[in-house]
């Protein structure tokens, strides 16, 4: 009963999305308001069907209906309820259904928020969204159908992938990533609509930007959660390994970040229209490439789903969307004519261009590094992998350059600047940079790249804070307390600007923390007998014993350690090894003791069979927790910038960045 209901809903969603896509494009072609109305209805219907089929699957999971194939693959009566609920995205078929569900919500949301607006673009946008919806619905109905029936249902199942059960971050990371990934469909639809309509009007820029910013926020947080999970679970003390699938999540983030910046230039100067549209298209296409990477079995990674037959189907979709994008771009890019030009390279817009260039080069670098093993294997038939050294060698200077731009970009005025203006805006922050670098050096930083990063970081913090402070001062000059000024100048009027500087502040901290944590970490391997104490990273670590714990779904070996500092007990740490019945290898869970300054990290290497001694790795990494917090700050900044202002007012001080320029005078 449940499987047939699910299959019916999915088939209906294939039909509804395909028909809706057709109606959308037809309505766009004919500019028919009646057609747009119908396209909207189909968009809502698609969302409703996706929601219902996801609910049906959750119902089957919770009731342990093993006659549903997906439930028989990932369900188990032995796992806690929360594991059962999140099993929806623990395996291939369910994760595609979850994708469809989120796509439905996004499409319905975007259609609803733009009701009665942008009528010349909306039919094409809805058509594109539902076209993507039709593809995913087809995937769920055919190659990755979770609702197939099991003829002789088993009494119990194996439960989901142990990695999913092993840590709570695994519950949050995938949905966040999907919200980021799937959300890129919405700006893609807008960009396609702009190309199909042969114009990108000023008013249309706002929905494009907002629809890009929301998934950007999710993707930013999702990437961080993934790194945090790796750090908490994998036991090597790092958070980023340039794994193909990590790269897959980073690629659309890079292009989306570039697009968010080029959209600002486009708004201010009326240039870079085709470029911005290309970046938006690329962000979406890279999410599909990422989906291919995780689900085709072509790339080896901790994230890979088991080999499946949907690889070719996704590849066809990727090829079709790629070709459609290239054709449309080639046809229409010249008609998105520029309305202005760049007066001087040493200006705010000049720095935006450099920023875009770096992001795009970084995207290519990561993409080439990720795909290079495939190329080598295809050409030479040899297996190889591209490791950290390549990526680090490329990404470190570009990361430093981006940090430099976070500092210098906002310090420069728009348009042409006089020499005096340049000196006045660029020189003072040098002091802050030097102070931060000197503090770093005093604390033992010796790596030249890290010192440079600290200098750029201090510079950027100075500029960012100054840019946040400036509107406050101006508002307070006109009367009013600090609180009033904050609410009025930042949160009410300049929310977008304020939000973007919060993001910059977060990004600055992230880049500095990455540089410091990756160069200043220390690691020590040791074997401790029971009761023995050893010194590491300024702590006294005492091995107190081993405990075996049997749970229905796993067997855990837990080692206990007492941690003391200067003779005073600080905490206890309990790293463990979990053995799940369905895994070839045990999964370790290191123990982490975080402080503001640094993290103490203990990971088990081995435990002697008599349990009287344990081999451990003790890693001390400074500033790691800053990364997680600063990325949340970036997400928060994105959200602040996202809240629509009722009216757009720029501050009026002429030397600030807010000087009115082309096309900003809007009601």
């Amino acid at each position: 009963m449940t499987p047939s209901l699910g299959r019916f809903l999915i088939l209906a969603s294939v039909l509804v999305s395909a028909a809706g896509a057709f109606i959308g494009f037809a309505a766009g072609q004919k500019q028919s308001p009646e057609g747009l109305k119908w396209a909207r209805r189909f968009a809502y219907a698609f969302a409703a069907l996706m929601l219902l089929s996801t609910l049906v699957m959750e119902y089957a999971l919770i009731t342990h209906d093993f006659s549903v194939q997906y439930v028989s693959q990932v369900g188990s009566r032995d796992v806690p309820v929360w594991v059962t609920i999140v099993s929806l995205w623990s395996s291939l078929e369910g994760s595609i259904l979850f994708w469809g569900f989120i796509l439905g919500i996004y499409i319905a949301g975007a259609t609803w928020l733009n009701r009665g607006k942008h009528e010349e673009y909306m039919p094409y946008a809805i058509g594109t969204w539902l076209g993507c919806g039709a593809f995913f619905a087809f995937l769920i109905a055919g190659p990755a159908n979770p609702f197939l029936t099991v003829p002789n249902p088993p009494l119990n199942g194996p439960g989901p992938n142990p990695l999913l059960q092993n840590h709570v971050l695994m519950i949050v990371h995938p949905p966040m990533l999907y919200l980021g990934y799937v959300g890129m469909t919405i700006p893609f639809g807008f960009a396609m609509a702009a190309l199909l309509r042969k114009r990108l009007g000023h008013s249309f820029l706002r929905p494009l930007r907002a629809s890009l910013l929301l998934p950007w926020v999710f993707l930013t947080i999702a990437i961080m959660l993934g790194g945090w999970w790796a750090y908490e679970v994998l036991g090597w003390g790092g958070y980023w390994a340039w794994d193909p699938v990590e790269n897959a999540s980073l690629l659309p983030w890079l292009t989306a970040t570039a697009a968010l910046h080029s959209a600002v230039v486009m708004e201010r100067r009326g240039i870079l229209k085709g470029w911005t549209v290309t970046l938006v298209l690329a962000s979406f296409l890279l999410t599909i490439l990422g989906t291919f990477m995780t689900r085709s079995g072509v790339f080896n990674s901790v994230h890979s789903f088991t080999q499946s037959s949907i690889g070719p189907t996704i590849l066809v979709f990727l090829a079709v969307t790629l070709i459609a994008s290239v054709l449309l771009l080639a046809l229409r890019i010249d008609s998105l004519e520029a309305e202005g030009n760049i007066e001087s390279a040493v200006s705010r817009e000049g720095m935006f261009l450099v920023n875009n260039l770096i992001f795009v080069v970084l995207t290519f670098t990561v993409l080439v590094g990720t795909c290079f093993p495939l190329i080598v294997e295809a050409v030479k038939g040899k297996q190889m992998s591209v490791g950290r050294p390549y990526f680090d060698a490329m990404a470190v200077p570009m990361g430093a350059a981006l940090l430099f731009l976070i500092g210098i970009g906002p310090a420069l005025p728009w348009g042409k600047a006089t020499k005096r203006e340049l000196v006045r805006s660029l020189v003072p922050p040098i002091g802050a940079g030097v102070i931060v670098a000197v503090i770093g050096a005093a604390l033992g930083v010796r790596s030249p790249w890290t010192l440079l990063t600290l200098f750029f970081g201090g510079y950027a913090v100075h500029v960012t804070l100054a840019q946040m402070w400036l509107p406050l001062v101006q508002r307070m000059k006109r009367g009013g307390s600090f609180g009033e000024a904050l609410v009025d100048a930042q949160l009410r009027r300049g929310r977008r600007r304020f939000g973007s500087y919060i993001v910059h502040a977060g990004a600055t901290i992230v880049l500095v923390a990455i540089a410091v944590s990756s160069t200043q970490r220390s690691s020590q391997e040791m074997t401790l007998a029971r009761g023995q104490t050893a010194q590491a990273a300024g702590y006294a670590i005492t091995f107190t014993g081993v405990e075996e714990r049997a749970e229905p779904h796993r067997q855990s070996t837990i080692a206990h350690f007492n941690i003391a500092r200067n003779g005073k007990p600080v905490t206890t740490m309990d790293p463990r090894m979990n053995q799940y019945a369905s895994m070839r290898e045990p999964i370790g869970t290191p123990a982490v003791h975080s402080t503001v300054v640094s993290d103490l990290y203990i990971s088990i290497m081995n435990i002697a069979p008599d349990q009287q001694s344990a081999g451990i790795v003790v890693i001390n990494t400074p500033m790691v927790s800053w990364i997680w917090i600063a990325v949340l700050l970036m997400g928060l900044g994105g959200l602040v910038a996202l809240i629509p202002s009722r009216r757009r007012v720029y501050a009026v001080e002429p030397h600030s960045d807010a000087a009115p320029s082309l096309g900003t005078a809007q009601p």
């Binding site: 079995g297 790629l322 290239v326 495939l374 190329i375 294997e377 045990p586």
Partner: protein, 172 residues
């Protein structure tokens, strides 16, 4: 129509799609063992359920199938009947050997008593043999020819066909 955009764009598309297409169908988890074509690392290990020590050199002259496994590994359970059936069919022409991977002898013993026992299973000393072979996880199987040279490695549970295909190489 902007020809430059079209041509460059389509070239990139063609390259990306071609590379990804060529990657389809291969198994990324499959890593060629560097030991293939080289003499198998030697060992002398105690057999489960007896005090006998078995030395690998004892089986020179016939192919050996060396299977690393454990009772805590579900895929090993599925593989067990396949291995026992094939070992029984092979009679004395092929030597099957099990090596216990991170497990206790008592558990192995009761498992084998319940599910059939067709060939010797050896207790690895602190995983030394597994490390020498570069075992990445269980089950994992190495195929040795009659001269003790490793000719093939298989990661994961094998079907009867997997055993036969790899054994062919060892028989040559």
């Amino acid at each position: 129509m902007n020809r430059t955009v079209l041509i460059i764009g389509l070239l990139i598309v063609a390259a990306v799609v071609a590379i990804l297409f060529m990657g389809l169908g291969k198994d990324p988890a499959h890593i060629e063992s560097p030991l293939i074509g080289r003499p198998a690392p030697g060992f002398a290990l105690k057999a489960v359920g007896s005090d006998e020590t078995i030395d690998l050199t004892r089986y020179r002259g016939k192919p050996v199938i060396l299977n690393f496994w454990a009772t805590w590994c579900k895929p090993c359970w599925d593989e067990h009947p396949v291995l026992t059936a094939n070992a029984q069919m092979a009679g004395g022409r092929v030597q099957y050997l099990g090596v216990v991977f991170q497990d206790e002898e008592s558990k192995i013993r009761s498992f084998l008593e319940q599910r059939g026992w067709a060939y010797p299973t050896l207790v690895d000393q602190a995983g030394k043999t597994a490390i020498a072979y570069g075992v990445g996880g269980v089950p994992e199987t190495y195929f040795l020819d009659k001269n003790g040279i490793i000719v093939a490695k298989f990661a994961g549970p094998m079907s009867a066909e997997d055993i036969q295909t790899n054994l062919q190489k060892a028989m040559k």
